[in-house]
């Protein structure tokens, strides 16, 4: 039990995907201008990542490894995650239109994204069990959502700040992310 808890806390705080591993930065800087969008995006990424991790785990350990095709991991996982997201979009559109109106746009954005691809690859590289993979995927997703929501709240305040002209827009956002990352570095002493 303690092992799973360590994995979860590690993925959320210590090895935060955005702030210490630099994954998913395109979404991070694109979405974090808006708080409600950040919450939706965080939830969409977490659920997609968990489901695609399970799928990728099954494909890797039941198809790729028995046949000695590990070198195809990159190609297979990219196609797998991208097509899975597209499929999910179709299903949600048909079955739950209300949900689609809320999340649909984010699903398109995460079809080919580093964070969604990175988690399945890390799972099989570290040879996690299926349960561990799920815990790791949820932890990474929550960590991503946490960073996104923190950043969005800060950027809303930033709108009232007097920022030097060249730094306006993306420049100050990076410096802000740096400060957040510095704060998250403090968690590394926890383990």
């Amino acid at each position: 039990m303690a092992e799973y808890f360590t994995l979860l806390v590690g993925a959320v705080l210590i090895n935060n995907f955005v702030l210490t591993k630099f994954l998913g930065l395109c979404i991070f800087f694109g979405i974090s201008k808006n708080l409600s969008a950040s919450i939706g995006m965080g939830m969409a990424v977490t659920s997609v990542m968990t489901m695609s991790s399970i799928l990728a785990w099954i494909v890797y350990f039941f198809v790729l490894q028995p046949f000695g095709l590990e070198f195809l991991t990159t190609i297979v996982f990219v196609v797998l995650t991208a097509s899975f997201v597209q499929l999910l979009e179709l299903v949600i559109k048909k079955q739950a239109p209300a949900l689609y109106n809320m999340w649909g746009i984010y699903l398109l954005l995460i079809a080919t994204n580093c964070i969604v691809l990175a988690v399945p690859i890390l799972n099989v590289e570290n040879e996690y069990s299926l349960l561990k993979s799920i815990v790791f995927a949820i932890g990474s997703g929550v960590g991503f959502a946490l960073a996104l929501i923190l950043m969005a709240s800060l950027r809303e305040k930033l709108d009232y700040a007097d920022v030097p002209k060249p730094l306006q827009g993306i420049g100050i956002a990076f410096i802000l992310a740096g400060m957040l990352s510095l704060a998250f570095l403090g968690f590394s002493g926890m383990m």
Partner: protein
């Protein structure tokens, strides 16, 4: 000839993938702790983006527009796998240092964007120049970031010490926060520089 040069040149500064378009930043921040890592990543991306542009340009008339994105992604993934295998075989240490970021070259926005915006509409030679220019711009940006981070963060350049023995390195620069803050200032600097060039041009025209 000058047209090809123009296509090549725009990737270097005007549409620099990192400083101006702010695309594909994950690797730029993650692997630039030393110059050699930054250079490896830059060259890998140059190889992938150039080859992919050529492939996409060659098949542009045979691909149904409805399935073009999956086709591009498969093509990119195949080229990245080739790069991975070559690095693993000949430079195992660098391959290890790149870690997961090498596999993630597949989903770099800049590569797919060039295939979609440029290579799917232009001939092979032009697409080659475009991909090569973008790759060189990317590599140059990686080198700038990596050089600043390595020199300030560990006091070395390509592994050789540049300062005296009493130099106390700024550890933060090779840690994640330093990368974010540095990129912020570099983006601001490039913006200011480009605006100055623009203003000078306007003045010249007015005079």
């Amino acid at each position: 000839m000058s047209e090809l040069w123009q296509i090549f040149k725009k990737g270097l500064l005007e549409e620099n993938p990192i400083f101006i378009l702010a695309l594909s930043l994950c690797p730029a921040l993650a692997v630039t702790t030393t110059v050699i890592n930054g250079l490896t990543m830059g060259l890998t991306v140059t190889f992938v983006i150039t080859s992919n542009n050529v492939v996409v340009s060659l098949i542009r008339n045979f691909v149904n527009p409805k399935v073009r994105v999956p086709v591009y992604i498969t093509s990119i993934a195949t080229i990245v796998t080739v790069a991975q295998l070559v690095l693993q075989a000949y430079f195992p240490l660098l391959y290890k240092a790149m870690g997961i970021y090498l596999a993630l070259v597949v989903v770099f926005a800049i590569i797919l964007a060039r295939a979609e915006v440029f290579a799917s509409k232009h001939g092979v030679v032009k697409s080659f120049c475009d991909g090569f220019g973008m790759g060189c711009g990317f590599t140059a940006a990686m080198l700038v970031i990596a050089a600043i981070r390595e020199v300030t963060g560990s006091g070395t350049f390509l592994g050789y010490p540049v300062f005296g023995e009493n130099f106390n390195p700024m550890l933060m620069m090779i840690l994640p926060p330093g990368a974010f803050i540095l990129i912020g200032y570099l983006v601001a600097g490039t913006k200011t520089w480009l605006r100055k060039i623009e203003e000078a041009k306007l003045k010249k025209e007015a005079a």
